[in-house]
């Protein structure tokens, strides 16, 4: 993300790159956007490089049980003597994995529904919007609970449920964008020269309609991270991986004796969600300022 911000000044060349770079610079210039970019980058780096960055294996017994934060274990240890800092770093990996995969599903479904509803219109629009409303009303958290109750815990089904139920917001925004883009000259020009509907949707409309949707993705993914953490807290996460929610769940049993077990995983979630929210807000602001 920050890499594309550096591209601009170095290359005075074509209009395209010069028009793109101010968006990121505007995002970075606001304190909120800067914070969002930094925290999101941190989340990605921690998640991607967890095995290199974590001092120990998150499941390895490293020190005395329930020891307070110290130089050896900066975040303290849990009831089995496992290093909490390593747990929090590996937890970032789980949150990142869930966030990225859910985001992919959300973009694919949201873009398809939004484009079709906005461009084709008519009864297709009516039906798709009804379906969108329905998915918006479905209680995601409880649906995920039912799926876990029937299929057992696991990241794969969790990602599927959250992805299949989290796209309505994106679809609505893309539909609105498509409706306004449909009337623009470049789309009419493409229609006049006889481009197929599919080509117009994918080549002309989608690239222009997608950015505001992608900006919203930060907010959608932040909520998904919170839901995943809540499920982990209830002991319904994937038992084979470390997650922030599962760590906080252990804290509940030792609340009277080990405050650090609650504080650090909780703060990690708070920071990640806050960062994604602020990044999403800043990108949305920067995009709407452009128009």
């Amino acid at each position: 993300m920050s890499a594309s911000a550096d591209l601009g000044p170095g290359r005075p060349g074509p209009e395209g790159t010069r028009r793109r770079s101010p968006l990121w610079r505007r995002v970075l210039r606001s304190p909120r956007g800067g914070f969002g970019v930094v925290v999101t980058t941190l989340l990605v780096v921690l998640g991607a490089l967890a095995p290199l960055l974590a001092p120990t294996d998150p499941f390895a017994i490293e020190g005395p049980p329930l020891s307070a934060p110290s130089r050896a274990n900066p975040f303290g240890t849990d009831a089995l003597g496992r290093d909490l800092l390593s747990g929090v770093i590996f937890g970032a990996r789980t949150s990142l994995l869930v966030a990225v995969t859910v985001a992919l599903i959300v973009v694919v479904i949201g873009a398809a529904v939004g484009l079709l509803a906005g461009y084709v219109g008519g009864w297709v629009d009516d039906v798709l919007m009804r379906v969108t409303e329905l998915f918006q009303v479905l209680p995601r958290f409880f649906l995920a609970l039912v799926v876990i109750a029937f299929f057992g815990p696991g990241i794969d089904r969790l990602v599927l449920v959250l992805g299949i139920t989290s796209w309505p917001l994106l679809a609505r925004v893309l539909r609105a964008e498509t409706l306004s883009l449909r009337e623009r000259e470049f789309v009419e020009a493409a229609e006049v020269i006889g481009s197929s509907q599919r080509r117009i949707m994918l080549r002309e409309i989608l690239p222009n309609a997608l950015p505001p949707g992608i900006a919203l993705l930060g907010l959608v993914v932040a909520q998904v991270i919170l839901i995943e953490a809540s499920l982990g807290f209830l002991g319904l996460g994937d038992p084979d991986v470390t997650s922030w929610g599962a760590l906080a769940s252990e804290a509940q049993r030792f609340l009277r004796v080990a405050w650090w077990l609650s504080l650090f995983p909780g703060l990690a979630i708070l920071l990640a969600v806050l960062g994604l929210n602020l990044l999403g807000d800043a990108v949305t602001d920067a995009l709407s300022g452009r128009r």
Binding site: F233, L236, A248, G266, L274
Partner: protein, 321 residues
């Protein structure tokens, strides 16, 4: 409000309700293993499974199974919990009041404090206090409910001893009447605040944006030009229209609050539906899990309907869309 609009909105419930029933039905049949396990839980004996098999017509073709399933649920029969040995409906009804008390107080508190927060930050920009409130709401919006709850227990209950740590009432006291009400209210404070935290932030942000926009309009300038005190301008003229977006999200907030209540009930040992749900998950008591899901889905749908009706009543333009 036109009767046509109300009727149309109520009729729109039918496909939504059908879809929710269908989701439940599909999950039962997609689940690995025999659907009877999903319908009866994993703790029954062969005789009991045969009984359930017959009740839900599991040997018949799928469409007629769907009809039986929908018929059972629409007549209020949510099945039986083999673990608890009682109808799911009774088990849920027993736990419902505690959850209703928790969620409705959180809904009320978050509306009041959220609007107050929004008014504060919208009318006092440029001041340090407004910035502090803004930063606090940003953090509250991002904090997971269990962190807020656990920190509240650590600081306010364990450290300062202001509130009880767990439960809905003091087990040792045999208080009745007013004393009992006070006891429950005392236990209610922390769970309510922890549950409301995220919603307070959401409402405050929403009313802030709406109020800032509203305060730039002509009728506000007119009110100020008339020489009305700023307080009256904000509360009487600005806030009224700024309330509309707060109303539109009410339905969605009910869904958030009920989901949050599950976590908060576990943190505070609150004896409501959330704790029931979690223990049922642990004992693989699927009829209860499915029953709670259907109840929550129905509640959210009805809450959305009520929200739309209130909105249409407040803003007549909606009715003629």
């Amino acid at each position: 409000m036109t009767r046509g609009y109300v009727l149309r909105r109520i009729l729109q419930l039918v496909p939504t309700a059908a879809a929710i029933l269908l989701v439940g039905f599909l999950l039962i049949h997609l689940a690995p293993g025999d659907p009877v396990l999903a319908l009866a839980g994993e703790n029954g004996d062969a005789e009991y499974y045969a009984l359930v098999r017959e009740k839900f017509g599991l040997d018949e073709p799928l469409p007629s199974q769907l009809a039986t399933y929908a018929g059972n649920i629409l007549t209020g029969d949510l099945g039986t919990s083999y673990v608890l040995g009682r109808p799911v409906r009774d088990v849920i009804a027993e736990r419902l009041p505690a959850t209703l008390l928790l969620t409705s107080s959180a809904l009320g508190i978050s509306t009041i404090l959220g609007i107050a927060g929004g008014v504060f930050t919208a009318t006092r920009h440029r001041r340090g206090a407004a910035t502090a409130v803004t930063v606090t709401t940003l953090a509250m919006y991002a904090a997971p409910a269990f962190l807020v709850g656990q920190l509240a227990i650590l600081l306010l209950a364990l450290r300062l001893g202001l509130f009880p740590v767990q439960g809905m009432s003091d087990a040792r006291s045999s208080a009745t009447g007013t004393a009992q009400v006070f006891d429950v209210a005392h236990h209610l404070v922390l769970p309510t605040l922890a549950l409301a935290a995220q919603e307070i932030a959401a409402v405050s942000r929403l009313s802030h944006v709406a109020l800032v926009e509203e305060m730039g309009r002509d009728h506000i300038r007119t009110a100020r030009a008339k020489g009305l005190p700023e307080r009256t301008v904000v509360l009487r003229h600005g806030l009224r229209r700024a309330m509309l977006p707060v109303v539109t999200v009410l339905g969605g907030r009910v869904g958030h609050l009920v989901a949050g209540a599950v976590v908060i009930e576990v943190v505070f040992g609150w004896p409501g539906l959330g704790r029931l749900l979690v223990t049922s998950m642990q004992s693989r008591d699927t009829p209860v899990v499915l029953g709670v899901f259907l109840l929550v889905a129905a509640t959210v749908v009805v809450a959305n309907l009520l929200t739309d009706l209130v909105y249409a009543w407040l803003d007549p333009r909606v009715r003629f869309r």
